[in-house]
């Protein structure tokens, strides 16, 4: 391992002033330390923010304000998350393993890097790692790569489950930096690649994510689900996933939310699909039409055309499950395709 300096930030200001180009913020370390070990990132300074007062979850205008250092496991078990944002709990508990969720933070989950294997291989050209070097994924192994919003410069996906649910619920990322506070909607926080590169960095030098705000979920609290396709029943990233939330009154959809995971460099909020669902009956046909709209413009970035079909179908599944209502208790295998149809 490279020699680096380690400081534990006692104040937010200290953390901000240290979080410059050659430094990196250390939260749970479950992604950052791995990337350091394999030589993908080489910060000369680590700023540990685990002691900053960012561990609280506060209720806020019917919604929640979640500190960036709240651990994934704690967030998933928070009573308000379980009662009003159940798709967030389901997304979290479908991710990684219990051990990782105990360590992983909310901010770190949002800021985790793509699992593109070429990004993780310092010997491969990668525009995300080294702007201008090219994209080794194109023409390579593309099973976990994008079918939406990609360019020839980068076809990576963002791997987070949490972010997909957060995007569906209109979450807002609160950022503090040298120029003060700013807020960015979750759905556009992760830049999409452009023709030349992977897009601007989500955070500027010195900036830190302090909180995630979840606005009141209104009438969608009990009609929300997350579904995740993966070969291994747990401890695997999504091949594709979807979060859906519906407000249904008198048999009609008042409003709908749909976001897809595993398909793009950001959680893919399907706004046109949502609009098309408004004022419809929650039927399989309506969901199928919405899913078509959600995948509009999708194109394989390699040998991954099947993902388009899978993403479309998982969107339908998530909407169908959301319409059926959130179960009172989280299923034993959260977000599993098999829920309800076989034991566990």
């Amino acid at each position: 391992m490279n020699l680096f300096e380690y400081t534990r930030a006692e104040t937010l200001d200290a953390a901000m002033s240290a979080a410059t180009e050659d430094g990196a913020i250390l939260a749970g370390g479950t992604n950052l330390l791995d990337l350091m070990k394999i030589g993908v990132v080489n910060p000369t300074r680590l700023i540990d923010i685990t002691r900053l007062p960012l561990h609280d979850i506060e209720e806020h205008d019917g919604g929640l304000r979640i500190g960036a250092m709240v651990r994934n496991a704690d967030l998933a078990r928070h009573p308000v998350i379980l009662s009003r944002f159940p798709a967030v709990a389901e997304a979290l508990l479908s991710g990684a393993s219990a051990q990782l969720r105990n360590a992983a933070s909310t901010g770190g989950n949002i800021m985790q890097q793509t699992r593109c294997s070429y990004f993780q291989d310092p010997l491969s050209p990668c525009n995300r790692r080294e702007p201008g070097s090219g994209c080794a994924a194109i023409g390579g192994e593309t099973r976990n790569h994008a079918v939406l919003g990609w360019t020839e410069a980068c076809i990576a996906t963002h791997p987070s489950d949490l972010c997909v649910a957060l995007a569906a619920y209109d979450a807002v990322v609160e950022i503090t930096g040298p120029d003060g506070l700013r807020e960015v909607p979750m759905e556009s926080f992760h830049p999409l690649p452009d023709a030349n590169g992977t897009g601007p960095a989500p955070l500027q030098s010195g900036e830190i994510i302090t909180h995630i705000r979840l606005p009141d979920s209104g009438g969608m609290a009990r009609n929300a689900r997350y579904v995740k396709l993966r070969e291994r029943t747990s401890f695997a990233f999504a091949i594709v996933s979807a979060a859906a939330a519906l407000e249904i009154q008198d048999g009609r959809i008042v409003q709908a939310r749909l976001a897809l995971g595993g398909v793009a460099a950001r959680p893919w909020r399907a706004r046109t699909a949502e609009k098309a669902l408004a004022d419809q009956s929650p039927t399989e046909e309506a969901f199928a039409r919405a899913a078509d709209l959600a995948l509009e413009g999708a194109a394989p970035s390699g040998d991954n055309r099947a993902k388009i079909t899978l993403a479309r179908r998982i969107a339908i599944r998530a909407l169908t499950r959301a319409a059926a209502g959130t179960p009172d208790r989280l299923p034993a295998l959260p977000a599993s395709v098999f829920e309800g149809d076989c034991n566990g």
């Binding site: 391992m1 490279n2 491969s124 029943t233 695997a236 899978l310 076989c342 034991n343």
Partner: protein
């Protein structure tokens, strides 16, 4: 770690062998006191890290050794330019069970991940950073990767020294006469052992004596190999390997870095430790190669197989000759009038493959069972009925009788436990809610080899005993099951037995592999005990003061630490009393375990495996919702441990069928998933319901104890059963493993 196991934590009823004793090493393991090789921290230890090649084929043209050596803490960097000499080239095969390996002999690169330098430093971190700082430059050639990227060749031998083909009967005539012809092509991927314990070594010299801590499945052989390569007297080498955190075939043979560590420890006169990182285990320590298998089945009008042909194309390395002998899995399972098995190789720029989790058998069985199922369905037979119709009463490959074969009973018991009789024939005809449900089966079969083992048993003055053999416990439970056998050989309670093992200065127990370790080392231990008791009986029978005096032809029986007269059970004497009167502190016996002469029977363990899968019709995800096998494997020494082995094997089968696959980028030859996040093996949630039943089987031929093997049996049959269940659920016949969701939508 002591070489003696303290006896703790088991509950037992009655005698020793046959009891479901819990592991004697269990408490040590769950309390973290079992010492694995990398847990050793000798005074003054240095850390070694290998730098590995980033290309798959070519030459290293530059290594920045100056930068690495300038890094604080780095002690020395070994490259082909300065590495100490080995006594024998690592490209020479010193015996039949050796691989060509990389010990910095030159600057060629034969596969991505090949060690190209060894950095030794005061800390692991410094050594790691030193290895990065080497920043190798290469003269790279285009790599040849995979079944379609490599160069075909015809191997002279397959597996380890076996003939590449077999032909029995007139296949062409049989084929012409048959009513129906079937052809199945199946691909299996490259798989890596991924034992949880990484390959590790700690080497330490005292003068010309070398002590090595390293997990190894065959320490006797390892000692010979170290001695040969290093040019050291084998008597001066001590290897300790009390526990292995899994081996799966990858820890049976030395690899170059182990030799380099021993050389560097001598050169630097300090103990050195090396533990491979996960990604470094993808290359130099073997793997199961990718195969493409073609099965041709010709079946007569009554559903009997007339001709069975199995051809395997397997990836090999460019510099060594291991060929996965997958076709051989078709030799002895189903009756046929004509049989042909053949193999071809593809030379590719990968590390040399080697034995992994039922080498050949698992891979070939996966394809064979799918082909059989395919034929059964096309002919309108229930898959079990078709298998029974083609039940091999004698071994098709050799014409020999089976030493024992309770496969019918296995089928019957597993089928009944599973509820197979309710299975509709048509695929896609069962549902569970929205999900497709399918049932499939496969036949498990694994050979019963025996190797060479030796053991000592020593009776002590107090009637307790110590037995010694250099066995390997990779988690299968050798510390327990071998001790059970040894105790019965001595006729004492296991609580009075001290079992010394896991070190190379003990009698050689041979290899823990091929599912033959319990049979081989167990026989040696039993014989050593019996030899001791024979001597003890002689003392007593010839001593007029002994109550056993005069038993002569009737003889005596050893039981519970006493000898009993066979003609009068009321006359007995304790071991300690016999020894005391003879004025002996110790009485020592020796035993060997091996198969004498050429076998006159075909010897296999068998089983029937039944799988239920649920498949999501829209998303293609597969879940093995039930898995039940029944197995016959001769005498079961410890039902509890045997069940664990069988369940473990079946779970390997789930991984093989649905998850395990190492992926190379064909352009660079580097892996895209060389870690446990990307290379999937089953987790608990993948195994909702699993059961392994054992069927009683007495085998008077396999060896004197009637022990077959259970280590690898469970994976054979299971892969096919799952694939066949997927077919039954979906009507889609899997063409390659692992079965991906994308292939089922």
């Amino acid at each position: 770690m002591a070489d003696v196991m303290n006896i703790q934590g088991h509950v037992r009823l009655g005698s020793n062998a046959g009891q479901s004793m819990t592991r004697r090493d269990g408490v040590l393991k769950v309390t973290g006191r079992a010492t694995y090789a990398a847990d050793n921290r000798p005074e003054g230890v240095l850390h070694a890290v290998t730098a590995t090649a980033g290309i798959a084929r070519g030459r290293v043209t530059h290594l920045d050794t100056a930068a690495a050596e300038a890094h604080p803490g780095v002690v020395k960097v070994y490259t082909p330019a300065n590495r100490p000499d080995l006594a024998v080239s690592p490209d020479e095969k010193i015996h039949g069970f050796a691989w060509r390996t990389e010990a910095l002999q030159d600057d060629t690169v034969r596969y991505a991940g090949q060690p190209i330098a060894l950095v030794v430093a005061e800390t692991l971190e410094a050594a790691t950073e030193g290895s990065h700082l080497l920043a190798p430059r290469y003269d790279a050639d285009t790599p040849r990767i995979g079944l379609d990227g490599g160069v075909p060749f015809q191997p002279e031998t397959i597996s380890i020294g076996r003939p590449p083909s077999l032909e029995v009967g007139d296949i062409d005539a049989a084929r012409t006469g048959a009513a129906r012809h079937f052809e199945t092509v199946i691909e299996t991927p490259a798989q890596y052992h991924n034992a949880l314990e990484p390959h590790a070594i700690t080497a330490q010299w005292t003068g010309d004596r070398l002590e090595i801590d390293t997990p190894n499945q065959a320490i006797g052989l390892a000692k010979q190999s170290f001695a040969a390569y290093l040019g050291v007297n084998p008597a001066h080498i001590l290897i300790r390997s009390p526990f292995l955190g899994g081996g799966f075939g990858s820890k049976a043979i030395l690899f170059g870095a182990q030799l380099l560590v021993a050389l560097a420890a001598k050169d630097l006169d300090r103990p050195i430790k090396l533990a491979l990182r996960r990604d470094q285990m993808y290359g130099p320590v073997g793997h199961r190669p990718a195969t493409r298998q073609t099965l041709k089945l010709d079946v007569d009008t009554r559903g009997h197989i007339a001709a069975l042909e199995h051809h395997t194309i397997a990836v090999a390395s460019s510099f060594d000759d291991f060929i996965e002998n997958a076709s051989n899995a078709s030799h002895s399972v189903y009756a046929t009038t004509a049989l042909r098995t053949t193999h071809a190789g593809i030379r590719a720029d990968t590390g040399t493959p080697g034995p992994m989790r039922a080498p050949g058998e698992a891979t070939g069985s996966a394809a064979l069972e799918v082909a059989i199922d395919d034929a059964a369905y096309a002919l309108g037979f229930d898959p079990l009925e078709f298998r029974l119709r083609n039940y091999a009463e004698t071994d098709p490959a050799t014409g020999m009788q089976f030493s024992s074969k309770a496969l019918r009973e296995c089928y019957a018991q597993a089928a009944e436990a599973f509820g197979w009789q309710d299975r509709p024939l048509e695929p896609g005809s069962m549902k569970q809610g929205r999900l497709l449900k399918g049932w499939g089966m496969g036949t498990a079969q694994f050979p019963c080899p025996m190797f060479q083992a030796a053991a000592h048993a020593t009776l002590r003055a107090d009637g307790s005993a110590v037995v010694e053999t250099s066995a390997a416990d990779m988690g299968q439970g050798a510390w327990t099951s071998l001790a059970q056998i040894a105790a019965d050989g001595l006729g004492i309670d296991i609580d009075r037995l001290e079992f010394r093992s896991g070190q190379s200065n003990l009698p050689d127990a041979g290899v823990a592999g091929g599912s033959g370790h319990t049979a081989t080392a167990g026989t040696a231990l039993f014989n050593a005990g019996a030899d001791t008791i024979r001597q003890l009986a002689e003392l007593a029978l010839n001593d007029p003061a002994s109550p056993l005096f005069g038993a002569d032809n009737a003889g005596v029986t050893a039981r519970g630490g006493r000898l009993y007269r066979n003609d009068d059970d009321t006359r007995s004497e304790a071991y300690e009393d016999i020894l005391a009167r003879a004025g002996l502190d110790l009485l020592r016996g020796e035993g060997k375990g091996a198969r004498e002469g050429e076998p006159e029977r075909a010897m296999f363990s068998h089983g029937g495996v039944f799988a239920e899968v649920l498949v999501d019709p829209d998303l293609g995800q597969v879940r093995v919702s039930r898995l039940i096998g029944a197995f016959a494997a001769g005498r079961i020494v410890n039902p509890h441990l045997a069940r664990s082995q069988l369940l473990g094997g079946m779970i390997w089968g789930i991984g093989f069928a649905l998850q395990e696959e190492a992926i190379h980028d064909v352009r660079t030859g580097r892996f895209t998933n060389a870690d446990l996040a990307g290379y999937h093996i089953p987790v608990n949630a993948d195994v909702p319901m699993i059961e392994a039943l054992t069927v009683h089987e007495d085998d008077p031929f396999v060896n004197s104890l009637g022990i077959k093997g259970v280590g690898e049996l469970g994976v054979t049959g299971t892969v096919g059963a799952i694939a066949n269940a997927v077919w039954h659920a979906t009507g889609i016949r899997p063409k390659r493993f692992p079965i991906h969701p994308e292939s089922l939508i």
